[in-house]
Symmetry: C2
Subunit: 214 residues, 2 copies
């Protein structure tokens, strides 16, 4: 049976998993969960995924959650092409880059946090955008520093084939562009982004190419 | 040569790695990085770890960053006792629980975010505490839902031996307790917390037992 991905076109966590599925050449059925409408909080979805977040992947009766856990699962169940290098320090480097995006940048700028700033804390759109730009700027500076000062970066974040790190970098850069964030202090990250976007697996995964895109 | 852990007693990401090192019986040298004094932003430290975050682990000439990448590295280089189950869906479940803490709860409440709310956004201590409690409450509800509705939880988050998920749960509960957050809606998480704290590996890793504790 085909895998089923619960996704929303603009979710960057879902975007990461779409890239990984494409890179591994895995076909999947898409189920759309409209986040701004709150469909992820509906009982029908939370019965399936108690975290009430997208993405989730249904495979062989198991419901898998959290984008990086899903990508690790795909790596273990469909090892080729690999999204992690073979050596332990290299694997740690790739995971660290992926986690830098997933733990330090993205969580501060996702929809529910931005909504909380405006609705619960009374901030203006301008304040919200300043917050957004601040954490993107700070995060991209850290990403750039890691890419340039710890050896391993080549055409992609780590070596000459895409890895889990690239699956995280690309959606984050899409978000930065969407909110008109300055990325000039992260030339290496942007060069890697451009290299990724030359690949069909990344192109097909992008928000505007999803059936639920608005 | 012994591993060297760059740590701060109160960092919950460093706390996760201290637990993992203890569970695996690995001795390490501790180097203390005082976060409130900003020592992580000093050139001496950023030359080593360009992410300017703790923890970092120096092992065999490699500098490893991001707590979950470090724990995965320890799992690969020192497989016993395992901190991940053997089956792919079980591994995904454990990683998802760990990432729920690391990506959805902790990033919103770490020191630099709280400082930004007060110093840059002009919020009061009361606002800051409300923010803190909100995300802890929301995150623990998701964690509890995942622990109770997706089979696998037993004495610990997954089965009867501690895993990477417990390494993340325990520091998060410490933070919740420190800020007097209500945890009554997460009885399973609290029961697992209590089971973990009966183990020496968790006890020795806690903030108050660190040489740099204030």
């Amino acid at each position: 049976m085909r895998m089923k991905l619960y996704t929303y076109f603009r979710s960057s966590a879902a975007f990461r998993v779409r890239i990984a599925l494409n890179l591994k050449g895995l076909a999947y059925e898409a189920a759309f969960v409209h986040l701004p409408k709150g469909e992820h909080r509906e009982p029908e979805y939370t019965a399936l995924n108690p975290q009430a977040l997208v993405p989730a992947l249904l495979d062989d009766g198991s419901l898998l959650t959290q984008s990086l856990a899903i990508i690790e699962y795909l790596e273990e169940t469909h090892p080729k092409p690999p999204l992690l290098p073979k050596d332990a320090p290299g694997r740690a480097r790739v995971r660290s880059l992926a986690l830098l995006v997933a733990c330090e940048i993205h969580p501060l700028n996702n929809l529910r946090v931005l909504q909380y700033l405006v609705k619960q804390m009374g901030h203006s759109e301008e304040d919200k955008n300043k917050w957004y730009h601040h954490w993107i700027h700070d995060g991209l500076a850290k990403l750039e520093a890691q890419l340039t000062s710890i050896p391993g970066t080549s055409r992609f974040c780590h070596g000459d084939a895409p890895t889990m790190a690239d699956c995280c970098l690309v959606p984050q850069i899409f978000n930065a562009k969407r909110f008109d964030c300055d990325t000039s202090h992260a030339p290496t990250a942007m060069r890697v982004f451009d290299a990724c976007m030359q690949l069909d697996a990344f192109q097909r995964a992008q928000p505007s190419r999803q059936p639920d895109a608005e």
